[in-house]
């Protein structure tokens, strides 16, 4: 014993402490991290129905996607969003941090996914997907090199996103696409291009969330050329949507790259959307915008696509806006600023109505109108986008119809 102790002492005196640390610790750390990836990936592959996969407390570096495929009734559970951190900063393979596909009754809870190279958590073709106490974030200053989507259920049914946080996505922090029966609640999204986005989805409720300091707070979109079209029946209520004035940092080409900085809520070409009891404040370009796909300026080739919003009801919200020019650097913000100066109306409607939903007098047929009623601080602009914004006017009493 004595002999070997002396030997170690000699060794230490011959090598610098730093060299020993590098020599001993680095290979071990790398080994441990690779081991973590393999251990949990193997568990996810072998998991039988009803399994709970427990992730330990700590920060773990992963280099490849962790995937769960073809499983039923599986929980992946960490020790809490601030206690179990899965970092993908050194990711070399895979287009997302975590991927769940072709499953049912999947619960993800109690962990953070950090700095994924692509999307943070993508789930596809899952019936019954729940995210609870999950954070997805890109650390550092938000920029176009960040991944696109944070929480990303697509073509799923029965989606629940509850008590989650999304930060820094270069597209949407919380994005639900081409899905059905959705609840997004008690969650917070900030420093994303889009905070929360519901796209081409049916029956979504977005409530009790905070969308703050994104480029656009909450987006309800319907886009062409997708498998699930005709999204709608969306309710947005009891949310706090404020200070969404972050500069748009989406890579060009993506639809959200066209969202003006300073957008609180945007409804694009979606049907049956009800927005109520929200506090929508200090979104300096467009507190709320209701637009058709034509206003994006993009061509439409999908013959089955309906580019018009209709049956929209916006009521009993509180609007607040600081005096000042629109903050967006896009053409729309520029035109609005030129027309309205520092007093931009809180609600902007592009004025384009589906002619098939108008009667012979040019009035909306019953139940299809864009209704804006009873909001505190309500002020409306009709942008007249159809005629190149020529007759853009304040139209505070123009949309007082009932659906």
């Amino acid at each position: 014993m004595k002999y070997s102790f002396d030997k170690i002492n000699n060794l230490i005196s011959n090598l610098s402490i730093a060299a020993i640390i590098i020599f001993l610790l680095f290979p071990l750390t790398n080994y441990a991290q690779k081991d973590f990836q393999k251990k949990y990936q193997t568990q996810m592959i072998l998991a039988e129905t009803g399994t709970i996969i427990e992730l330990p407390e700590g920060s773990f570096s992963l280099t490849n996607t962790l995937s769960l495929e073809g499983k039923k009734k599986i929980t992946i559970r960490g020790k809490g969003m601030d206690k179990t951190i899965l970092s993908f900063k050194n990711q070399t393979d895979g287009a997302e941090g975590i991927r769940v596909s072709d499953g049912s009754e999947i619960l993800l809870e109690g962990f953070t996914v950090q700095d994924a190279k692509g999307d943070a958590i993508k789930t596809m073709h899952v019936t019954g997907i729940s995210f609870h106490d999950v954070k997805v974030e890109w650390t550092g200053a938000p920029g176009p090199e960040n991944g696109g989507y944070g929480l990303y259920p697509v073509q799923c049914e029965s989606v629940l996103i509850d008590h989650c946080v999304a930060i820094g996505a270069s597209d949407a922090g919380i994005y639900v696409g081409q899905s059905k029966d959705i609840r997004v609640t008690n969650s917070k999204a900030y420093h994303n291009v889009a905070g929360i986005e519901i796209e081409n989805s049916l029956r979504a409720e977005v409530y009790n969330n905070e969308a703050v300091e994104n480029t656009g707070g909450i987006l309800v979109f319907d886009l062409p050329d997708l498998i699930q079209k005709k999204g709608g029946q969306v309710k947005v209520y009891n949310n706090s949507i404020h200070d969404n004035n972050y500069e748009n940092f989406a890579p060009k080409g993506n639809i959200v790259a066209a969202v003006p900085s300073g957008t609180g809520l945007m409804i694009l070409a979606t049907k049956e959307v009800e927005v109520y009891n929200n506090r929508i404040s200090n979104n300096q370009s467009a507190g709320t915008a209701i637009i058709s796909y034509f206003t994006t300026g993009k061509p439409i080739k999908d013959k089955n696509y309906d580019p018009f919003p209709s049956a929209i009801s916006i009521h009993d919200n509180i609007y607040v806006r600081k005096t000042g020019l629109p903050v967006g650097k896009d053409p729309l913000s520029f035109i609005i600023g030129k027309k309205f100066g520092e007093e931009v109306p809180n609600i902007l409607f592009d004025g384009i109505r589906n002619p098939q939903l108008l009667d012979t007098q040019g009035k909306w047929v019953l139940g299809q109108c864009i209704s804006i009623l009873n909001n505190k601080g309500q002020s409306i602009a009709n942008l007249d986008a159809e005629h190149g914004f020529k007759n853009m006017v304040r139209a505070d009493d123009s949309l007082n119809c009932n659906n």
């Binding site: 592959i45 990711q91 895979g94 991927r99 073509q155 270069s170 886009l223 997708l226 060009k252 080409g253």
Partner: protein
């Protein structure tokens, strides 16, 4: 879903698909070697494929699409690097052998990773990665970080309506010559002679996929479409995992927007590379498809799986195709 996993041999040798020294990949009786006209690019790995049907069973001719194989069919694909690509087959470094096995519940994907001694390969479900180096066709040493997919990632590509499926062996991909030990012959004719393929129609009635790098086999358009089909359309088609994108690259697709021409991306994120459309006719550089093919970055590169390097020759083909494409409205 979620049932007891099937039990498969831990060692490749237990499958008894090779005779003699395992690393020579000499097929045992009943295995037929085959090749595809235009194969998937896998980081410059060479591939040796075999098919084995259960004794006495056969396949009925069908087209288009992957053939309908009988239960008990085994598809074998070996991935290896020759030390010098100018001398293929000599000093092989075999990395992995993938098996697709069709049993009564459908297809199963298994990956066997070879040991460094090249004496055995072992079943691995969680994937791995290996550094490989070889002399490429230009005589230059090339190093590649070769990634072996995990079991879930197999289904990331081998997926049709969420069912695991083979990708390659369609009639049109098999409609080409193979150099058998007994001589060179059209593969479909050989399969017919061996009694494993029935109802083969007249030669002129059989579709044929162009060979991506052989201009005598098809026009630039045919070769580019064949390349995109095998490299992309396993995901990018209506039944595939990239159905959410609305970009479908099967050989039979005729809708120009769906093919990506002047099509805006849906969820490309930074994969757009700041480009506005998937294909801008006449300008590959401004096309997202070109951008994602030349990217190394995870989250940008396409295909998502199966490569860490750029397929320069495939990229050149797609670039030429887009650059020469006339704009359409």
């Amino acid at each position: 879903m979620g049932g007891k996993p099937d039990v498969f041999p831990e060692k490749l040798s237990e499958w008894k698909i090779y005779k003699g020294n395992l690393s020579l990949l000499q097929p045992a009786k009943g295995l037929i070697p085959y090749a595809l006209n235009t194969p998937l690019f896998s980081d410059y790995a060479e591939k040796l494929r075999f098919i084995r049907l259960p004794e006495g069973s056969s396949i009925n001719y069908s087209a288009p699409g992957v053939l309908e194989f009988p239960e008990g069919t085994l598809l074998v694909k070996n991935f290896y690097y020759s030390a010098d690509n100018r001398k293929p087959g000599i000093n092989k470094n075999i990395i992995e052998t993938r098996l697709l096995v069709k049993n009564n519940s459908g297809w199963k994907a298994l990956t066997y990773i070879w040991n460094d001694e090249q004496t055995e390969a072992f079943l691995e479900i969680a994937g791995d990665e290996k550094m490989v180096s070889f002399i490429n066709k230009e005589g230059i040493k090339q190093d590649i970080r070769y990634v072996i997919p995990n079991q879930n990632q197999c289904k990331g590509c081998h997926n049709s309506n969420d069912q695991l499926m083979p990708i390659g062996p369609s009639v049109s991909q098999l409609n080409g010559d193979y150099h058998y030990s007994t001589g060179t012959m059209n593969q479909l004719v050989y399969w017919k002679q061996q009694g494993v393929l029935h109802n083969l129609p007249e030669k002129t009635a059989i579709p044929r996929t162009a060979v991506w790098n052989d201009p005598s086999s098809g026009s630039l358009n045919d070769r580019a479409r064949a390349y995109l089909a095998i490299n992309c359309s396993h995901c990018h088609r209506r039944e595939g995992p990239a159905q959410t994108s609305g970009l479908f690259l099967t050989e039979s697709e005729t809708n120009s927007t769906v093919l990506g021409i002047n099509k805006t991306p849906v969820a490309a994120g930074k994969g757009s590379g700041g480009r506005m459309v998937d294909i801008l006719p006449g300008n590959a550089y401004e096309s997202i498809i070109w951008y994602r093919m030349q990217s190394h970055a995870p989250g940008e590169r396409m295909p998502e799986l199966g490569r860490t390097s750029v397929h320069e020759e495939g990229l050149a083909l797609i670039k030429e195709w887009i650059d020469k494409m006339k704009s359409i409205d």
